[in-house]
């Protein structure tokens, strides 16, 4: 078996383990979805009943809800490792630490995809946005946005998991770094929903893909150091 295949096998085992734990702790998973929906509802209240204003704000509010709920999700995937010394044990296996990062990021990516898949129709219904024509471009945006957020979120969740004030530190560190991702995802979603009249969708998607690639490479190369004590 090649080294790459061995890493992939280990990453898959870690992602699968995280997914099983997350699904069995159903209350936490459903609470995250509920939280995201609540964010959308509260923003709706704040903006008032003007349907045109709500539709205009929909792309931004969608991504804010995904990012806020994603913060909880990526943080929790690392909290699973704090039970009874699991993180230290994970670091002691004779495996490449990039595989740990990839496994964690993969679990985060799938969680973010589920969040995006649930939140898109919720936004459509709540803010009266027509999604039918835009769904292929929106799907690509959600996939790229979820990948980027998971890539960088996994790194910062690993950085803060041993910190006492991790619930505060994670958003403080992570949110500024995700600003380019948030901007590109909002602009791409807005372009997709409006039929891309200025032909800017491709550029924003390219920016998202570039962000994803850079973050995956940098975070993947650095993550192993976070496991050192």
């Amino acid at each position: 078996m090649t080294a790459l295949a061995a890493e992939a096998r280990i990453a898959w085992a870690i992602a699968r383990k995280d997914a099983v734990s997350e699904l069995r702790g159903r209350s936490a998973a459903s609470m995250t979805l509920f939280f995201a929906a609540l964010v959308l509802l509260l923003f709706g209240f704040a903006l008032g009943p003007d349907t045109r204003k709500l539709a205009e704000a929909a792309p931004g509010l969608l991504w804010l809800a995904i990012v806020f709920a994603g913060l909880l999700a990526v943080g929790r995937l690392h909290l699973l490792e704090t039970d009874d010394g699991a993180l230290e044990q994970l670091a002691l296996y004779p495996i490449d630490r990039r595989a740990i990062y990839v496994g964690k990021a993969l679990a985060g990516f799938v969680t973010m995809l589920v969040l995006g898949a649930v939140m898109l129709p919720v936004v459509g219904i709540m803010y009266g946005v027509e999604l039918a024509r835009a769904w292929p471009a929106l799907s690509v945006t959600v996939v790229l946005g979820a990948l980027g957020f998971s890539a960088v979120g996994t790194f910062y969740a690993g950085l803060t998991v041993r910190v006492r004030a991790r619930e505060v530190m994670l958003p403080l560190l992570l949110l500024p770094v995700t600003a380019p991702l948030l901007l590109a995802a909002v602009k791409a979603s807005a372009a997709a929903l409006s039929g891309d009249p200025f032909g800017e969708l491709g550029s924003w998607l390219q920016l998202l893909a570039g962000f994803d690639l850079v973050m995956l490479l940098v975070a993947g190369a650095s993550y192993g150091f976070l496991l050192e004590e």
Partner: protein, 258 residues
């Protein structure tokens, strides 16, 4: 009770026989301004079982954690089978199995799933994985709990499952931190049987414990630590390491604070 110990690469001849299984030179570890280890120089011969004795805070756990690559030494060196734990931790991890105070188990996975996850990460070949897991569960007496989530396990059952994870590895060096703790008499007998089996298989074992009487039949020698330094070495298989200290040393011998 079925008990199979999987032979390590070292036992198969991958390391020169005269290379000590463990060698430390002026090994020290600071936590803040406090020295948990303050200059330990030891050599443990391969295939021997050695007890690490000492009061709470003497440095036993810190020594084991450095050898397991869980933490890095502040000063000095530690080698496992001739490999420096700080320079090549990735190579050392493939040789060491470590049972710590914390079990490192996942509460929402079942007993079998925890072992399956460990077996995958320990590169137990897929065709024999399920057989090894079943065999391990039988050895640790948890076959009936295989499908139960670990969240519902008692402290003793968690300890047994953590021991099962150690059994899935094929180490040259087994590090056990108070393995009898939290176990009932049957569990303690299981640990005794494993200590005997590892010794029989020629696998080096370091056991930190307060229960010397219990360990006595299974050990070749012992090291007593006091305030992070070696206070006494007894028996065979372990000796002071005469290698010269490095350029950086710590004041040795008086207390845990520097």
């Amino acid at each position: 009770m079925p008990l199979t110990i999987y032979v390590s690469p070292r036992a198969a001849g991958a390391v020169e026989p005269q290379t000590p299984a463990v060698a430390t030179v002026e090994l020290a570890r600071l936590f803040g301004r406090s020295a948990a280890l303050a200059g330990v120089s030891l050599r443990v011969q391969a295939g021997r079982t050695v007890a690490l004795l000492g009061a709470n805070g003497a440095g036993k756990t810190t020594l084991l954690r450095i050898l397991a690559t869980a933490i890095r030494p502040s000063f000095g060196t530690a080698r496992v089978d001739g490999i420096d734990v700080a320079e090549r931790p990735d190579q050392v991890r493939g040789r060491v199995a470590y049972l710590s105070h914390a079990t490192g188990l996942y509460d929402d996975l079942t007993g079998a799933e925890n072992l399956r996850f460990a077996a995958t990460l320990l590169a137990v070949p897929a065709p024999e994985r399920e057989e090894r897991i079943a065999e391990t569960l039988a050895t640790i007496g948890l076959t009936g709990m295989a499908a139960e989530r670990v969240r519902n396990f008692s402290a003793g059952m968690r300890k047994r499952l953590a021991l099962g994870r150690v059994l899935l590895a094929s180490p040259t060096l087994v590090l056990l931190d108070e393995p009898h703790a939290a176990l009932d008499e049957a569990g303690m007998q299981l640990v005794d049987a494993l200590l005997a089996a590892w010794r029989e298989a020629g696998i080096t074992t370091l056991v930190a414990s307060h229960a010397l009487d219990r360990l006595q039949p299974f050990i070749d020698g012992s090291v007593r630590l006091e305030s992070g330094v070696v206070a006494e070495i007894a028996g065979s298989g372990v000796e002071p390491n005469p290698e010269p200290r490095g350029a950086i040393g710590l004041p040795v011998g008086t207390g845990a604070s520097v």
